[in-house]
Symmetry: D2
Subunit: 236 residues, 4 copies
Amino acid sequence: MSEPVFRDDMLVELIDNMGDDKRVVRAARVSTGKDLAIPGEAFETVSGLIRFLMKNRHGTPFEHNAFTFRVECPIFVSREFMRHRIASYNEESGRYKQLDPVFWIPAPSRPLIQEEKPGAYVLKPGTMDQYDYTVRTLKTVAGAAYDAYERILAEGVAREVARACLPIGIYTSFYVTFNARSMMNFLSLRVDDPDSAYPSKPQYEIEQVALQVEDVFQRKMPVTFRAFRENRRVAP
Amino acid sequence: MSEPVFRDDMLVELIDNMGDDKRVVRAARVSTGKDLAIPGEAFETVSGLIRFLMKNRHGTPFEHNAFTFRVECPIFVSREFMRHRIASYNEESGRYKQLDPVFWIPAPSRPLIQEEKPGAYVLKPGTMDQYDYTVRTLKTVAGAAYDAYERILAEGVAREVARACLPIGIYTSFYVTFNARSMMNFLSLRVDDPDSAYPSKPQYEIEQVALQVEDVFQRKMPVTFRAFRENRRVAP
Amino acid sequence: MSEPVFRDDMLVELIDNMGDDKRVVRAARVSTGKDLAIPGEAFETVSGLIRFLMKNRHGTPFEHNAFTFRVECPIFVSREFMRHRIASYNEESGRYKQLDPVFWIPAPSRPLIQEEKPGAYVLKPGTMDQYDYTVRTLKTVAGAAYDAYERILAEGVAREVARACLPIGIYTSFYVTFNARSMMNFLSLRVDDPDSAYPSKPQYEIEQVALQVEDVFQRKMPVTFRAFRENRRVAP
Amino acid sequence: MSEPVFRDDMLVELIDNMGDDKRVVRAARVSTGKDLAIPGEAFETVSGLIRFLMKNRHGTPFEHNAFTFRVECPIFVSREFMRHRIASYNEESGRYKQLDPVFWIPAPSRPLIQEEKPGAYVLKPGTMDQYDYTVRTLKTVAGAAYDAYERILAEGVAREVARACLPIGIYTSFYVTFNARSMMNFLSLRVDDPDSAYPSKPQYEIEQVALQVEDVFQRKMPVTFRAFRENRRVAP
């Protein structure tokens, strides 16, 4: 019997990306026929135009930059991620392979308690007892479920049937590609920033994914990222 | 403690639909400026044009018909369904409500054994013993998982954390809206028809969903459906 | 030789629509599993939920309502319309038919003068002389172009070649289908409302189209429309 | 008055691209969890998997490669191009700038005569006389239209109004970004190949664009391109 592994991290690896801040400027400039005269441009000009585009929600010039990531996360996170339709996905398949016994448990720092307020959604830290009980219980269920999974497989039953007992906390992996505009929409919904014009309350785990995506965004398109933040995370 | 319920059916309910076969004709006819002269049209003309469009893969005239369904199925099926991006979804949330203890088990008629061939994917019936063992095991895991879920909730922990132990065979419900073209693409991938030009091997359970979608399609757009079949299920 | 016709109106005809305000509520309620209990609902509840969804930019529940329009407008307007990609189109074809000699001229009330300001875009009324000169010139060019078009056709040359001389002010007709969410995005960009959170300066003619779309929206989904306006035309 | 320029070429310039054939393999392999073991792979393995994906229309692994092009073409071509919705565009604007007097005329090799057959669409070479007459007429109309455009502008009227007289054969420029799957769909519809499973009869000019796109595709993803051809241009 396979020994289960427990993780509380989200892995986000940049596979490739295309374009930088100047690409946005070049694409935008085609509207006035000035797209061919960019290379030597001063930073201030690039920055000014990008801030103008962001503020006025001219979104299309941000669609010529692309990012591909490889993500490892629990299924309940991949389910949320894949609701973003202006993106491309390929995911590990429970039909084509036996899933590995890797399961999510909350990190000690993960807020556990949800305050019930109409229309709101606030999470607070739990006690040590709550944490211990939760982790212990999740581990027990995951271990028993994976054991059952392997026993059903051992009977010769198809993976696609046996997997029905596996918990949604099991890890999956996938590739996702999106352009910078779609990525900003993703970030506006999956990062909880009190300065947002339209604050969102994402699940903690997808926010851990989003923050890593954001980190790449900031490194690869610093001017665009700053304009996005200044504009209170309203995706253009 | 809540008593688990086990189901092997997929529920597909038509909520609403827009347009019929004549709508396709009308939209197509705008290309030649003859869209305003349809009402009294003979069946043969409607049928002839639709078959022509299908055969030559002129897909856009099929996009002005829309269908909204309410679906109840296991999460592993909704996950496959929601990979179809040219569609609109709203799904039950494990963050906003306590999920009900309703779980999938295979129907006795469900093929259980997968033949391993490179590049192929063939399922065959299992033995009674395999069936009994699988169902018994799935039930045990589901019951224990839901019990654990409720105990974690009873400790005051958030639903979004506790749900991590629930199996992907738990039922969910969602609304989906798509146009006839996107629906045909869905059917081409989710129904296993040996006459298809590009045969697909969908998981049995999503095929049970797709066959019900197809039944509605056939009733509401009989001419289009026939042309789709004649054209060997190549979505236009 | 065909006599040219000159128009200054935009025709927008509702062909069909699916769903009303209650459909939005029903789709949204599936997240908490309460979607099956709506029919007898009070207006206040419907309105309250829709306003909540709009304010917090929960957009997907607005995607299960669909609208199909037939539009007649100049090509320079259809070009702007068809940049909206989350929509379905079928348009009159200059390859499959001889285009009719119907051309756009500005209405007397159409602002003619553009004030040049960096980053702004303001139009003001022209003088009677400017109007007369513009209309007279547009008419002359359109007439000569259509005459040339017919002469090239008379030589036996293909429509797809001959059409190259036709002005972008020639009328076209098309069908468009989109859902309520995509329609709100269209309206947020194509109606100039000083109360908008992100004001847009659309070309006057596409705004004439958009205002008619908006009129249908208001009639068919009055609660959603009011919430959209209250939310300063930020599409959810 | 500006002197008109006449062109019969389509300019397609690769601005950037992301990913190669191996990217497709890597994305596809995540389904079986083998995506991390590719680098040293033999050509035969890459080729075999790509051909398998293409033949069985597993399309998503081809979505992680992206291409950005800058295109110069007449408006009647850009209108056809932009009907492809799974793509990103930024185009020169007749509202933000005065359009340049660059107009399309057919090349001498361009077939001019359309054979009228029901459901078919065949073009054949014209005579020298037909060619001369067509070019002369197109040039005359274009020159007169641009002259009128400049005169209306000189009266102080807005560009967005004056442009209504410009012919659809005037050149525009735009940026387009799409992934390899969407690009193959574009090519399947915009290249006329008698070996296609679903032959298409695109306008000659957009085919001139498509053939240049195809040339880049072939250079950057030779294995995928060959599989696409072998599969009779059915986009996966």
